[in-house]
């Protein structure tokens, strides 16, 4: 039925209806719509010109729904607003069976066969042909989610049987929703709204809200006081989706109730697990921190306890050199002094490494000239170099500026040079070079000594590693390169070793950032 008094509108709608082969009855006033019910069979759709509805469309719609069976008749309120996507706000009641829109929307609806649409504007019936009530009931009854049609008193009129033993085979019921769901309250009868708990019942509230506010497709997560088979004290968590409906001129609520208890319990378990994990990590971190502190204190104490008794040994033993004349005794004394010095060095280097490890970053940086530092250190080494006939070359020919902790950097150079000299043969050569690019300054210390195998490259930085597997070498502590590595890392640099093979010499490379990282960062920001 098309209800409009405007000729242009009638023509336009008729064109659309003809296109989709829809028979139409024309009326031109509000009264005619209502009168037509006595004469004609119930129209499937009433296309109502909003202008005909006048100032009070709600009143007219209510009249229409009282006259026609709302579950069989759909009203399309044809609006003339420019933006038909914003329907008049004042028409909320009976929204489930009223659609708004302009001519274009009307055509779209026919095109997509979604008229009549008694469940509002999302039920898409394109692929389901509602040939008969039996077919519809089959779909309804076999839907996998529990669906309930409830009246305003909370009686279940129809329900599908998904997970519900209280529903008859034909989907009808005369029970209360509480009874159907097996509610714990309701005086053992499951009568909704009869006991104080009902006031706080979230499902009750959702249904009330839906009725009161006419909220379509209202979704809310709720917990229900209904017994659970596995544990009667457990609650059911459900996702309640509701929508109001007008059926036989009565207001109803269609309720979809999805049990999400498993999901909720999994979420809770996961949350609990995460909480436990956090506290476990915190506990373990604290344990590790305590152990590190303990290690630090242990080394500190050990350092003290080893160095104190070493004091008289280191200071007094050399005094006997002058007094001993017997060559045999002098040899024994030298052995004792050398071994004492070895223990002394071992303790000193171990403590050095410990201090470096406990230090985050570099305490104090100064700009130095690499060329000058190398010359200074080579001067210190002069007696040893001369003694062993080793030629040391400073191949850094131009000033190379580095911003480093001077003490740490000198210690590193000292260690590298000691190693190079130690492993060089008589008449060997030690070369210190530098290469710079925009990002890094790479310093290398090469010798013409015993060389290394690739397997040894990675191990030489390990603490207490010695190239000599018998460990008889008293001239080496096995911590020099570990200390170097730590110093380089404190300066955000890299250290690595290269060697063409055994007997072919070794080169240690150190790459340090050309500038302090903060300065580089500052430049990049500009």
């Amino acid at each position: 039925m098309l209800a409009s008094d405007d000729l242009t509108t009638r023509q336009a709608v008729k064109v659309i209806l003809r296109k989709y082969d829809q028979p139409v009855t024309l009326v031109s006033s509000a009264e005619e719509i209502l009168h037509a019910s006595q004469e004609e069979s119930t129209p499937q759709t009433i296309i109502l010109d909003a202008r005909l509805a006048g100032d009070d469309p709600i009143a007219l719609l209510n009249h229409i729904f009282q006259t026609y069976e709302s579950h069989k008749t759909h009203v399309f309120l044809l609006t003339h607003h420019q933006n038909s996507a914003n329907p008049p706000r004042q028409i909320p009641r009976g929204a489930a069976s009223v659609t708004f829109g302009g001519l274009e929307d009307l055509e779209n609806r026919f095109q997509s066969r979604s008229l009549p649409n008694r469940f509002g504007n999302t039920t898409d019936l394109r692929d389901v042909r509602m040939g008969s009530e039996e077919e519809f009931m089959a779909v309804f009854l076999h839907a996998p989610i529990p669906i309930y049609l409830i009246d305003t008193e909370g009686h279940v009129l129809r329900a599908n049987r998904a997970k519900n033993p209280y529903i008859d085979a034909d989907g009808t019921s005369s029970r209360d929703l509480g009874y159907v769901l097996g509610c714990r309250h309701g005086e053992g009868q499951g009568r909704c709204g009869t006991v104080p708990q009902c006031k706080r019942c979230p499902l009750h509230m959702v249904i009330r809200e839906t009725i009161r506010e006419d909220r379509c497709f209202h979704r809310k997560e709720i917990s229900l006081d209904v017994p659970v088979e596995t544990d009667p004290s457990e609650k059911i968590y459900a996702l309640a989706s509701t929508t109001p409906l007008w059926i036989d001129r009565k207001k109803m609520v269609l309720l979809f109730l999805e049990d999400i208890s498993e999901l909720r319990r999994s979420q809770e378990l996961l949350a609990e697990f995460n909480r436990n994990l956090e506290s476990l990590v915190a506990r373990r971190t604290e344990e590790v921190r305590a152990l590190l502190e303990q290690k630090k204190e242990f080394i500190r104490q050990l350092g003290h306890d080893l160095r104190t008794p070493l004091t008289p040994l280191v200071a007094l033993l050399p005094k006997f050199r002058a007094s001993l004349v017997d060559p045999k005794e002098r040899e024994m004394l030298e052995l004792i002094i050398n071994n004492t010095e070895y223990i002394n060095q071992l303790v000193a280097k171990t403590l050095d490494l410990m201090f470096l490890e406990n230090q985050a970053g570099v305490p104090e940086r100064q700009t130095i000239d690499l060329r000058v530092e190398i010359n200074n250190i080579l001067a210190d080494f002069a007696p040893v170099l001369q003694d062993r006939n080793i030629l040391a070359v400073n191949a850094v020919e131009t000033p190379v500026r580095l911003c480093v902790d001077v003490l740490q950097f000198k210690e590193m150079l000292l260690n590298l040079l000691s190693n190079a000299v130690k492993f060089s043969p008589e008449h060997g050569q030690v070369t210190i070079s530098a290469a710079t690019n925009e990002r890094e300054v790479t310093v290398s210390v090469s010798d013409t000594g015993m060389g290394m195998t690739p397997e040894q490259f990675s191990r030489v930085f390990d603490e207490f590693y010695k190239v000599d597997p018998s460990r008889h070498d008293r001239s080496s502590i096995g911590l020099g390169l570990s200390i170097c590595k730590r110093i380089v890392e404190n300066h955000e640099g890299r250290i690595w070793i290269e060697s063409p093979g055994l007997g072919k010499g070794t080169t240690v490379y150190i790459a340090l950032p050309a500038r302090r990282p903060a300065e580089v960062g500052g430049r990049e920001e500009q």
Binding site: L306, T308, P312, V314, A315, L316, P318, K319, Q359
Partner: protein
């Protein structure tokens, strides 16, 4: 003033060693075994270089230094920390705070002699500068 170097250390072997090394170099030195004894010597009028151990039971080296400052006993004297345990940060703090230097245990005897001689030479000029 004849006694010019005082070693403060709870370890008898260290005290013996320091005295031996310094006396071997013809220097005047005395030894005490605690911070309290050190303060006592200072109250009695000791003037010179103090080699002060840090890790001592009861009153440690830092406590002793604090007490010296409270009583004004450090004035005109040179304090040099003698220690087996010291981290670089502590070293720096101590140098800033009325301590002229530190000597690590175990020490090289010739190095200790050189250090002691150097500070003794300062000592003679320090009071003049202060006045």
């Amino acid at each position: 003033m004849s006694k010019q170097i005082m070693i403060v250390d709870d370890d008898p072997a260290v005290r013996y060693t320091v005295l031996e090394v310094l006396r071997g170099a013809d220097m005047n030195a005395i030894a005490v075994d605690s911070g309290e004894a050190c303060l006592e010597e200072l109250r009695k009028g000791f003037h010179g270089v103090i080699l002060l151990d840090i890790m001592m039971p009861g009153m440690d080296g830092w406590d002793t230094l604090e007490a010296m400052k409270r009583e004004g006993l450090n004035e005109g004297n040179i304090v040099c920390m003698l220690t087996a345990v010291i981290s670089p940060s502590e070293e720096m703090d101590s140098v800033k705070d009325n301590v002229l230097d530190y000597v690590r245990k175990p020490f090289d005897p010739d190095g200790l002699i050189a250090t002691a001689k150097e500070y003794l030479s300062y000592l003679r000029t320090v009071p003049d500068e202060n006045e």
